[in-house]
């Protein structure tokens, strides 16, 4: 019986994704449509694995925050050029105009 279980487990492992592969597909799925087999495998894995479900949620949250990070309009203005930096930039521009 335990032998039978072993064989079944091995068979299941072939069908079921590892968490490594599942998290790979979760990330890839954010940018590309997965093929049918991968979609089915991933949803089966997510039903069974709470840690990968957590990973999927967190991955989505990280992507959301990355989108905020890259939008200059949503940045707070604690980051801006100092007067000193502005002067340096203006000087560089003027120098190049004079050299033309």
């Amino acid at each position: 019986m335990s032998n039978m279980n072993n064989i079944m487990m091995k068979g299941m492992n072939k069908i079921m994704l590892s968490c490594d592969k599942a998290t790979y597909l979760i990330t890839r799925n954010e940018y590309e449509k997965l093929n049918y087999t991968n979609r089915v495998q991933l949803s089966m894995h997510l039903v069974a694995c709470k840690y990968c479900r957590r990973f999927a949620e967190q991955s989505e949250y990280i992507t959301e925050q990355l989108n905020k990070l890259k939008d200059p309009k949503s940045q707070d203005f604690s980051i801006c050029l100092t007067e000193n930096q502005k002067n340096k930039l203006n000087t560089a521009i003027e120098n190049q105009i004079d050299n033309r």
């Binding site: 998290t23 939008d71 980051i79 190049q96």
Partner: protein
């Protein structure tokens, strides 16, 4: 005044290089910073952008706004920065410590000590969200150079995979493995530094 004339007037004002720093400096600086997470480098990139724009000023036809035009030049500078970064030899050999087991029976399953923890109480608190942005920047900067380059071009610049590979010199499957590992490392870094 007709609309066409109005646009022309705006163009000549906005395209005056002596006004660039005042009008677009901060916007470009924030744009650069949001992509490279270094103030020093952002300043350099903005300066290079203005100087390239001066050289190409005669080719600016006013089809887009000056800001859009300058941003597209800066975006190219950011991509060039990551292209150069990806070919740099890593000073510290980056060894990926996978959070997954490699023994036969459990191969590819989470190592128990490194499974994702529950983030709910942290991600729902608005104050902790501000802190998240800072930690995210820090953890991005800790990625190995090559991974960071691939990750930034694909995820932040939203370039197509083949475009990223053209810049960085990677294969399509290699690209996804790098992004997968970068995401795993980023997630764990955030968890260690942010989740209470």
């Amino acid at each position: 005044m007709s609309k066409a004339n109005l646009n022309k007037t705006n163009k000549s004002d906005d395209a005056n290089p002596s006004e660039w720093v005042n009008k677009y400096g901060d916007y470009l600086y924030i744009y650069a910073y949001s992509r490279v997470q270094s103030k020093e480098l952002s300043e350099d990139l903005v300066q290079e952008t203005f100087l390239s724009a001066l050289k190409g000023l005669s080719s600016f036809r006013g089809d887009s706004t000056v800001q859009t035009w300058l941003t597209s030049i800066l975006r190219r500078k950011v991509i060039d920065h990551y292209r150069k970064m990806s070919t740099r030899k890593e000073t510290v050999a980056s060894k990926f410590a996978s959070p997954f087991q490699n023994e036969d029976d459990n191969e590819g399953h989470w190592i128990m000590e490194r499974v994702p923890k529950d983030w709910h109480s942290d991600s729902e608190d608005p104050l902790r969200q501000d802190e998240f942005q800072k930690i995210l920047e820090l953890c991005l900067s800790l990625l190995p150079d090559k991974w960071k380059s691939v990750f930034m071009l694909k995820v932040l610049e939203e370039m197509r995979s083949d475009e990223v590979c053209k810049e960085i010199g990677c294969t399509a499957s290699n690209l996804w493995v790098i992004i997968h590992r970068a995401k795993l490392q980023l997630r764990e870094c955030i968890e260690i530094k942010w989740v209470k």
